[in-house]
Amino acid sequence: MTTPEPLLAITDLSIDARTPEGLRPVLDGVSFALVPGETLCLAGESGSGKSLTALSIMRLLSPSLRQRGGSIKLAGRELTTLPERAMRQLRGGDIAMIFQEPMTSLNPVMTIGAQLTEAIRIHGATDGGSAETRARAMLDAVHINEPARRLGQYPHELSGGMRQRVMIAMALSCRPKVLIADEPTTALDVTVQAQILTLMRELKGEFGTSIILITHDMGVVAEMADRVALLRAGRMVEQGSLTQIFEQPREAYTKQLLDAVPRLGAFRGTDGPPRVTAAPPPVLPAGPILFVRDLEVTYGGATGWFGRGSPPPPVVKRVNFELKAGETLGLVGESGSGKSTIGKAVLGLIPFTGEVVIDGVAIAGLSPGAMKPVRRKAQMIFQDPYASLDPRMSVGESIAEPLAIHGIGTRNERRERVALLLRRVHLTPDQATRYPHEFSGGQRQRICIARALALEPKIIVADESVSALDVSVRAHVLDLLLELQEEMGLSYLFISHDMAVVERMSHQVAVMRGGAFVETGSRRAVFENPVDTYTRALMRAVPVPIPSTIRHQDRVTASA
């Protein structure tokens, strides 16, 4: 068998970052080739250099990065030495790119039509008709309804999924040979992700485009790739066919990464999260630690001097639930479903109607003074560990701050408590004097957990607390949360869009859509026998990190 001529060949690509301390390599000797008609997945965790690789193919690296060496050849033509003018014709013409953030990747003050036709005109890809006709045909090809009307609309009038469709239409409008998709579905809800992935597969055949798909999600890799190239810290770990990578990974890192991927259905047949310690279960009260009845939240009621008109519909509608001591309630749903709003409301951070009882105290209408002792009982961990720590406060100060606010202990006692808390989250006490930027994302999230624990709360609201972390790091943070629950009897209100993570963490689960619970129940009931059609659709949409060929084989062997 002869190997087909590669369409795009990257050889020994190396990139340096200009730092105050001099040049630092961020990509080192990466080589791979893209064969016509295939989808190559560039996979890896954050900082692996996958996006850099893509941007250097387009020659769109930011000025703080410099290509040190290597060659990039498109159909035999060297791109690294091409004059800028020729390169411009290539961009959007022969090689097109779509990006992660559909919400920000389109120009907010230009109409969809203007942005689409611009690319078509520049590359003369009108197919004989006018640029508008071509633009309309492209919107049609990506299954956007009413294409003629959409051309006159602005990006903010479209949903995230629609915007990503527009991006795809724009990228494919000039029939590129190569489409580079950089995390095209990461910012989208799972159900929308499934639609976009299907669309990409469909258009690949229709337009004869080869795809480089960049993703951190092994589920997406399994669904999309013909071949996989795995990067880590700027180096190629291993590459091979999809089945080879998933079935016979050669490198330890590949195995480790695949093992860390949460799989939906991995905890079938159990009622609670897996036990991670041998700690005896703490003695806990039987009643609910958090009790919520008819909770309703409406944003932006009467505002301004002349507040009038009908109030907007509530974002959380008459929600009821209980959280038992030492248990976890997983709140799962897509963006805008109201999960985070519930989290904020039960902590009394936003106005609400209805009843919220924390450890026997109803918090509705409490004065700030009366609320203060209740706040000690319920704390929060946020999504972005980079943004939720004050960069100008040492880690020790950040952790001690809640203690200081509540006037607990002397300065020395607080310092001892900080040391204890740092050990509690598997960091060392001497790290208290360091600043957030010296820590990795996973470590920062541990620091945030330590800060939340400072007041010895009974409830922790964890809002997408592991969503910003890489899978390997995520697993460790989840284990830490489970460990703390087992040893301290904490209750979690665990908010996440990630079905697999919720399955792993929860005792009880509530599925949210449009501000209401569509299904609630024990984890076993919700995940093993979902009743609601939306819950089922949500679970079906989650990409399975097992290639379909293997899944198929398994079924064959099982039946044989």
């Binding site: 389109l106 120009n107 003050v109 520049i122």
Partner: protein
Amino acid sequence: MASLFAQRIVQAALILLGVALVTFLLLHYLPADPAALIAGRSANAQMIANVRHQLGLDLPLPLQFWRYLSGLLRGDLGRSYIQRSEVATLIVARIPATLVLMLTGILVEVALGLVFGILAAVKRNGFADRAVMTLAFVGVSSPQFVIALLLLYVFAAELGWFPMSGYGTPAHVVLPALTLGLLGAGWYARMVRSAMIDVLNQDYVRTARAKGLSWRRVILRHALPNALLPIVAMIGIDIGQFMGGVVVVEAVYGWPGIGQLAWQAIQQVDVPIIMGVTLVSSLAIVLGNLLADAVAPVLDPRIRGR
């Protein structure tokens, strides 16, 4: 949208009322007594009292304010103490001159600010950027009368390109407009630079480049319209700053606008004129902001509709 605009107009009216009240009180508690000034140095207490009575300054303060306000509603700004004429007539006669100065000044500052701001942003951290930013810094921190005198010295006295002072021909407006605009140009260059740098880092600029557009088109078609959004809001607020500059510039160049009128009135404690000019300036600021609010949705589709 319409109701939002109605809200803004009511707010504007309340702001003007507040300005009128505060100016009125400030001028009333001024240590200078206009009645004594008008009556002259040789006048006795009786004569001063007569003048005070004629001007209505012996009435209770709330009544005085009420009379002023009810006059305002009829468009009557009162009579000048010194210049035997209606304040409104005096101001209206001088508005065209000030308007010419303001518009050319704004043109100078926005044009210079845009060109140099974009240049600095595109050549970020390069020589052009540093040069522009240094100049902008000098511009922002120079007192206006210093710039005025410098320009007068170089371009009027030495080179003789433009007249020293006066009003009437396009040549007359150049130096005053430059004086007024240079300070603002520094501000705008800095603002445009940071807005542009911010926009150039946005994802949609990367998208535009990935389409294969030229830098020129990326900057003018994609980046600039977005960078202008905060700048336009700034121009509205800026008109207030501008009115302060107008007084100085008109005084230095002998420009017959309302700034000069105010300058004279302050020296003579001609309270009705000071009040009138203050109110007209406030009105200009309020209108400037209303205008910026009205233009914003035209430029930014995201705030249209609601």
